[in-house]
């Protein structure tokens, strides 16, 4: 039995008397592609933020590759091999793309404690950053500020920034939000091309892309897991229809 990439056991979270996460348990295997869906208010973002460490659950456990991260601070995630993207782009707008990627890599690199050597001259990190940007077809924009490139390009860079840390578990929070048709295609291809070793958990509303991506789907409703399984199972399940169509 391989250690699961992510294991949630009986996660509970309430905000001021309102239970937002109610006894959620799920297991994700290494390299798996998991989609989390559910209508608005289902608690997807709260669940995500608990996995990412920004919110502490009231009870239950979160383990990543066997390591208990439930009460660990946010920064422990990156060192446990978890990276995430945000629904709202959080790139450093006034810094170059290369700097954005290099800074991300620095987060899990010993170099970050250096207080005397110049950052730029650490060729290895910057070289790697440029390589990553080149694989996105953005090497000619590597020295532009993140705020100067298009929204679609920012989305792709956001994912690249997360991937630059070579995570074993990647959390994608609505990576297609606000994108045009063409941009969506580019991001979809990017996600499809991500390394097989990386387990990916995604929240997304764009059903076409999400369903194409997903190997396993978890459906949340009012903080609970209602349906779980592969595409066929979930799409045809009567409860899924009920939740989405209200029948």
């Amino acid at each position: 039995m391989t250690t699961p990439a992510l294991e949630l056991r009986d996660l509970q979270k309430s905000f001021g008397g309102v239970a937002v996460t109610q006894g959620v348990s799920l297991t994700i295997q290494p390299g798996e592609r998991r989609l989390i869906i559910g209508p608005n208010g289902a608690g997807k973002t709260t669940l995500f933020n608990q996995i990412a460490g920004e919110i502490m659950p009231d009870s239950g456990t979160i383990s990543v590759f066997g390591q208990d991260l439930t009460h660990q601070p946010v920064q422990a995630r990156a060192h446990a091999g978890v990276s995430r993207t945000y629904q709202v782009i959080t790139l450093f707008a006034k810094d170059t793309l290369a700097h954005n990627v290099a800074l991300a890599m620095l987060g899990v690199n010993r170099q970050r404690f250096q207080i005397f050597k110049a950052f730029r001259s650490d060729d290895a990190l910057y070289e790697r950053a440029l390589q990553i940007l080149s694989s996105l077809g953005l090497s000619d924009k590597a020295h532009l500020q993140a705020g100067e490139i298009s929204y679609g390009e920012q989305r792709r860079v956001e994912i690249a920034v997360a991937m630059s840390q070579s995570p074993r578990l990647l959390l994608l929070d609505e990576p297609l939000a606000g994108l045009s048709q063409d941009e969506r295609a580019m991001v979809r291809d990017l996600i499809a091309g991500l390394p097989r070793e990386t387990a990916i958990v995604m929240i997304e509303h764009d059903m076409d892309v999400a369903l194409a991506f997903a190997e396993q789907i978890t459906v949340l409703h009012q903080g609970r897991v209602i349906v779980e399984g592969d595409r066929e199972t979930v799409v045809n399940h009567p409860r899924t229809r009920e939740i989405y169509l209200g029948t």
Binding site: R77, A78, F92, L103, R112, F113, Q114, K117
Partner: protein, 311 residues
């Protein structure tokens, strides 16, 4: 690269005592002290996004510790200087921890409250600080027998110390750690998700800032050969803040330019206007409301607007 203009500038600065009179040389020393102090505050404000209103505490504490050890314990500068720097930095560790229990406005209020407590202590703990009389009868050090009582000597000494400090601070902000500090200013949440310990980064930067403020404090007490509690007042902290925001926060040169502006303004304005505090307040208001990015970018922006460019 930038090396050539900096070298030329340094050469110019070093030569000042050769052609300028004593008054200007002393003014120069005061500007250097303010520059180091402002640069240390800039680490927090400009690079860390942490606005402190209590930075004068560290400059003052370092000055007082050095003075007290000299006057009350009869110690020489070789002992008082490292002791002052060490003890002040340790207080920086403690105050930094306290103040960083909050962020943003809470941090600002805590730094102000802590600073005012120390300031009040300076006036009231008369048995130690001599209260409103201050500690006098102090001397300047004699590094390798070189007398610093000559104003040109003191200027060169201060210039040397300032250059070293500013060089170290510049390396600090350009280092990987410095990059992470800047990151916490813009997107603390993102930085944490990337694996950075935001609290530890801020705390360490606070400590470094207090260290360099302590250095400025030593230069200050050597220059004046006297220390009075007013050096720990919120006015002095505000003047340093003005240097930073006037020159342009988040740059190396900004606080240096700001220091020149503020010291010159203070020296000449107080010759004509009795009320320096009012002037300081009005300048503050002016900059905050009309030129928040600092004098240099602000002037550039307004001249463009006046000329009719739509940028």
């Amino acid at each position: 690269m930038k090396r050539l203009p900096i070298a030329a500038l340094l050469l110019l600065l070093f030569s000042i005592p050769l052609f300028a009179g004593e008054y200007f040389v002393n003014l120069g020393s005061q500007i250097l002290i303010a520059a180091v102090f402002a640069a240390s505050l800039n680490l927090l404000v400009g690079y860390g996004g942490l606005t402190s209103l209590g930075h004068a505490t560290f400059m003052g504490l370092s000055a007082y510790i050095s003075a007290w050890l000299a006057v009350k314990m009869g110690l020489g500068h070789a002992a008082t200087a490292p002791a002052a720097l060490l003890l002040t930095t340790l207080i920086g560790v403690a105050f930094g921890w306290i103040a960083l229990r909050a962020t943003g406005l809470g941090f600002l209020m805590l730094t102000l409250a802590l600073s005012q407590i120390v300031w009040g202590l300076g006036y009231r703990w008369v048995s130690v600080t001599n209260g409103d009389n201050g500690l006098s009868g102090l001397t300047r050090p004699q590094p390798f027998g070189w007398s610093l009582d000559v104003s040109s000597h003191f200027f060169w000494f201060s210039l040397l110390v300032s250059c070293v400090c500013i060089f170290l601070m510049a390396r600090f902000v350009k280092s990987p750690f410095g990059a992470s500090l800047r990151g916490t200013k813009d997107q603390a949440r993102r930085m944490a998700a990337l694996g950075f310990n935001v609290h530890a980064i801020r705390w360490f930067s606070f400590i470094v800032a207090s260290f360099f403020a302590a250095v400025a404090g030593l230069l200050y007490v050597y220059f004046h050969k006297y220390i009075h509690p007013s050096v720990m007042s919120v006015t002095v902290s505000a003047e340093a803040l003005l240097c930073v925001i006037a020159g342009g926060a988040g740059t190396i040169a900004g606080p240096l330019v700001g220091a020149i502006l503020v010291v010159v303004l203070k020296t000449y304005a107080s010759a004509y206007i009795e009320r320096w505090n009012m002037m300081l307040g009005l300048v503050f208001l002016f900059i905050v409301v009309f030129m928040p990015a600092g004098l240099v970018p602000g002037v550039a922006h307004w001249t463009r607007r006046l000329r009719g460019d739509k940028s």
